[in-house]
Symmetry: C2
Subunit: 120 residues, 2 copies
């Protein structure tokens, strides 16, 4: 075996091998970020959790003002963010709009974040 000569490089004179995209490339990252941003708020996390825990998985927005301690426009804003991220859906029933979590979307996010599954 030759002793060295591959170049006069020191073995410590580089940091690491080149990086490449992993499971998540630029396009996927751009698609996922808005969903995570929609969840990255304490109020919206609680909304999602409350909806999941509601008797039939649905509730109207008017029930949320009390528990969350926020104004109606603010809650409407948060529901809109969640809706636009595809994480909840609203269905009008008379005066009220019943919201439910789109569990498939939520699962997708959870799945994408699971490093174990990403590595298997």
């Amino acid at each position: 075996m030759y002793a060295g000569r591959v170049k006069t490089i020191q073995i410590d004179d580089f940091c690491c091998t080149p990086l490449h995209d992993g499971e998540i490339d630029a396009d996927r990252a751009n698609a996922m970020a808005p969903m995570l941003a929609a969840l990255a708020d304490p109020v919206r996390l609680r909304i999602v959790s409350m909806l999941l825990a509601a008797p039939e998985g649905t509730s109207c927005g008017c029930e949320m003002e009390g528990p969350l301690g926020l104004s109606q426009p603010t809650i409407s804003h948060h529901l809109k963010v969640l809706r636009e991220a595809g994480l909840v859906e609203g269905e009008r029933r008379g005066r009220w709009v019943h919201y439910r979590v789109v569990t498939e979307r939520l699962e997708d996010v959870a799945e994408a974040l699971s490093p174990v599954r990403a590595l298997v």
Copy 2:
């Protein structure tokens, strides 16, 4: 909030049963939101994914400028956000800092977002 009186209530004159906190109460929501916020950025998602895909699960920051197309201060900023969220750790090796994903933390986030597990 109920629209009707508890007494002379019409069967259709209320929207739904009262809401309570689900799996995620206010404290937990406040604790989780920063972790999700750290992940709610395309650049940081790619950093995490690249680290997970790196040969030994680690890489120095200097390898990221090229693939991400961002300046060194910007990448350093994103790594700091991920560090402060507990999602990555950095270990100094000479001139370089080798970063790795704290997979346990990432699993925690994924777990908390999985509605199936939350309901079982």
